[in-house]
């Protein structure tokens, strides 16, 4: 693979036989060129901010949080950008994903030039909101926040009304920049396009339910992260996901498990919580006899498809309000549990990123709820930048799998 030239790839073990994954990764690595070719406006948005409104306005959705961190920190192992973030006013104890993102943008070293900043914010992550505010203040690009109010069933009527009006203002803002007026028909079409990708991820996740797990942990984890970075272009991403699904379905038919899975009866692990930059964790899980059967770092973007048979605005509004990450912890965990159960895990690993206040703040609650509801063993890990915590993680994961393996 050409991409193995990047230093971050050297210590990661990929499934070299999974050819279709190369296509997916190349799509990501070559997205700078694709954006230039497409000539569309690029809208920067936060990872769990839905993309359909951006598609509808004829723009490309770009997730600098995921894209810049993967490229700079994980693949290129360039951590100097955190200093740039400090110069922009952040503190070193912020979530390193935010530091890399803001450092990239503030220093003008972001891979993809941004035309517009627009992100959803709500009751899930203060740092995202503050980083976007900082980028808006320091940059010269147009900026628009839109908001998703807290989830509580009793508030549904006015919460949906609020989101609907927020979306209307967002469409007006985006239209003024792209020149494309968002109509019901256009929005419906954008939702259909988004649903193709959501369905791909649902299908991909479903394949991990198999007793013969066809996809390695690392590849699944990356494939899931990429769903939030649609600068790749939705049609192309859908096409690459389909190729991957077909190859994996073929493996299942042939009874071929992912080559990295070393045990005949691996400990089936579901990964929850913050997205880690320590990708070697995924290799370590398999190395000690585990296998990844699911992950919820981007679950909110594909937990279900948006209804197509009803008016588009109403369907999108309801879907957004119900996104799992928009819910209070208990409701979020209870909403996520059916998805976890489907994957038939034997154990759970909760990932915490040091510096993140959102999911780590709720980690104790999540751990206890998972134990109560699923009666499964839980391991909680903490990571920061790549390489910094791998020795500790290695011991923790090894011991956890040894203790809980069949």
């Amino acid at each position: 693979m050409k991409q193995t030239n990047l230093p971050g790839f050297e210590r990661l073990q990929f499934d070299k036989e999974l050819k279709s994954f190369d296509g997916l990764l190349s799509l990501f690595l070559n997205s700078v060129d694709r954006v230039k070719t497409l000539g569309k406006k690029v809208v920067a948005k936060s990872p769990l901010s839905p993309v359909d409104p951006i598609y509808a306005a004829g723009a490309l959705a770009y997730d600098p949080y995921t894209h810049e961190t993967l490229m700079k920190s994980v693949f290129k192992e360039d951590y100097n950008l955190t200093q740039e973030a400090l110069d922009a006013g952040l503190n070193s104890d912020f979530n390193p994903w935010n530091l890399i993102m803001l450092g990239s943008v503030f220093s003008g070293k972001n891979e993809i030039p941004v035309d517009i900043y627009s992100t959803a914010c709500g009751c899930w992550d203060d740092q995202i909101k503050k980083c976007w505010q900082t980028m808006a203040e320091l940059g010269n690009s147009p900026f628009h926040f839109w908001e998703i109010p807290r989830f509580e069933e009793l508030t549904e009527k006015w919460a949906l009304d609020f989101i609907s009006k927020e979306l209307e203002q967002l469409f007006n803002f985006l239209s003024s920049k792209t020149g494309i007026k968002v109509t019901e028909e256009i929005l419906n079409s954008a939702i259909k396009q988004g649903n193709l990708i959501r369905q791909d991820m649902l299908d991909l996740t479903r394949l991990l339910q198999s007793s013969c797990i066809p996809m390695p942990a690392l590849e699944f984890y990356i494939a899931q992260l990429l769903i939030s970075d649609y600068a790749l272009e939705p049609e192309a991403l859908h096409s690459e996901y389909r190729k991957l699904i077909e190859e994996l379905e073929h493996r299942i038919k042939q009874g071929i498990a992912a080559p990295g899975i070393t045990s005949d009866k691996p400990l089936r692990i579901y990964l929850m919580g913050d997205e880690t930059q320590e990708f070697q964790l995924l290799n370590v899980i398999e190395q000690y006899g585990g296998a990844l059967v699911g992950c919820d770092s981007r679950l909110s973007l594909y937990y279900e498809t948006v209804k197509e048979e009803v008016p588009a605005m109403g369907a999108l509004t309801g879907w957004i309000w119900n996104m799992p990450h928009n819910k209070p912890t208990t409701a979020r965990v209870m909403a996520t549990i059916p998805y976890i159960k489907q994957q038939k895990p034997d154990a759970i690993i909760i990932s915490n990123v040091v510096g993140s206040r959102n999911l780590p703040g709720a980690e104790r609650l999540v751990r206890d709820l998972i134990r109560e509801e699923l009666k499964l063993p839980v391991l909680s890990i903490e990571t920061t930048l790549p390489r910094e915590d791998i020795e500790k993680i290695d011991y923790q994961v090894k011991a956890f799998i040894e203790m809980n393996a069949y």
Binding site: G89, C121, K129, P149, G361
Partner: protein
């Protein structure tokens, strides 16, 4: 048992308030025995008018500055989370602060990540009813999002309904009007006190006004008004021209929450020879700023509450940075501030991310410099902070 009293500076002036405060636990205990319910809350975005209207006792739970509750809170929140939030959980877990154990329920405004966690942990592990309030985070001073106010009004109505159910009392508009009038009186009287330190010849220091405000979070609100009247009466009798001019450097303190008992940074500043004259914190003057507009006979008091609690100076969990900057500069100008000490509790991201902008705004518009102090409740960094503060005061030309 942790310290639940307040260390007033002018003990003669505030003797009555101090005595009254010391009696509060006993009074609350008696009131509870008589069937009165006590409701705790944390953020100033939560209208205590609704608690009062439901005939319950509001207590703003903002103790801070102690290590034991922080350590106890680490059973729930990570060590890299806000120490105030850890305290809010830790006090309840330790059960040695009267006010945290006295509450029958808590109300939590959905402001920052930490506040939301406090609600979740209290609900799950302390088995106490919790009522939450959603607040729009992205509205602005130009009222470009009218639906934000409408949303907030509906949230307030829901909270009103829940509190009414909890207290088993019908809450009428008239009840709310009365509680608004009560709270407006408190705000107006506190504001009178906060204005004194604008002068170099003030009969009351800002720190005591802060202490008085803190006392008002705990004691019965009607009694608090009596105490405020008495304090103001005494102050008005003092001839300010007879007071020697205070020539110490005039400092504004701004940033993260300054809890009851959290006086590390305040002591350091004072002992370094400076005079804190103004603040930009949610337990200080921001709490008493802006009264609730009372609507006419046919108007709903909920409109007034929504307006005041949504459009008061926003905490940085909201996105309206320019409004905060304008207010900051105005306070600095009104109080002839010579320097800002920006108190940032470690891991309080929402304030931390704005320091750069606040520093630049003050310097560019008023040539007022700023000093960032990032700390927690541990005494280990007192020496370092003292050195920084002393150097800062020297830089702005004050005496040490």
């Amino acid at each position: 048992m942790t310290e639940t009293t307040i260390d007033f500076i002018n003990r003669d002036l505030l003797e009555s308030l101090s005595t009254r405060l010391a009696q509060e636990p006993e009074r609350i205990t008696t009131a509870k025995k008589e069937g009165k319910k006590v409701i705790g809350y944390f953020c100033p975005h939560l209208p205590e008018e609704l608690i009062l209207a439901a005939d319950m006792l509001p207590i703003r739970l903002t103790f801070g500055g102690e290590l034991e509750p922080v350590a106890a809170g680490e059973d729930f929140l990570k060590s890299y989370s806000c120490p105030f939030a850890r305290s809010c959980i830790g006090y309840r877990k330790l059960s040695d602060n009267f006010y945290y154990t006295a509450v029958d329920a808590i109300c939590v405004a959905y402001t920052c990540d930490s506040m939301r966690r406090i609600q979740e942990y209290w609900e799950k592990y302390f088995d106490i009813p919790t009522f939450s309030l959603g607040i729009p985070q992205t509205h602005d001073r130009f009222r470009s999002k009218p639906h934000a106010k409408e949303y907030f009004k509906n949230e307030l109505k829901l909270l009103r309904q829940k509190l009414a159910e909890f207290s088993d009392k019908k809450v009428t508009d008239q009840d709310i009007r009365k509680s608004i009038a009560l709270c407006n009186q408190i705000r107006e009287k506190l504001w009178i006190l906060f204005e004194y330190p604008q002068s170099m010849q003030t009969p009351i220091e800002w720190r005591d006004v802060l202490n008085i405000t803190h006392a008002g979070f705990l004691i019965d609100r009607t009694d608090f008004i009596v105490e405020l009247d008495q304090i103001i009466k005494v102050l008005k009798r003092i001839k300010t021209q007879d007071i020697p001019k205070d020539t110490r450097p005039r400092i504004m303190i701004g940033g993260s929450i300054i809890g009851i008992g959290d006086h590390k940074i305040l002591d350091i500043i004072n002992r370094a020879g400076a005079n804190i004259v103004a603040d930009f914190t949610c337990t200080g003057s921001m709490f008493s700023r802006k009264r609730v507009s009372m609507p006419g006979i046919i108007g709903s008091p909920m409109d007034g509450l929504a307006e005041r609690y949504l459009y008061n100076i926003p905490c940085p969990f909201m996105t309206d940075l320019p409004k905060r900057l304008n207010r900051l500069v105005r306070i600095a100008r009104d109080y002839s501030v010579q320097g800002l000490v920006y108190y940032n509790l470690k891991y309080c991201d929402i304030w931390r991310a704005e320091f750069k902008f606040m520093k630049e705004a003050l310097y560019n518009q008023l040539s007022v410099p700023s000093l960032l102090i990032e700390t927690d409740y541990s005494p280990t960094d007192v020496g370092t902070i003292r050195t920084k503060v002393e150097a800062f005061l020297e830089m702005i030309g004050g005496q040490i």
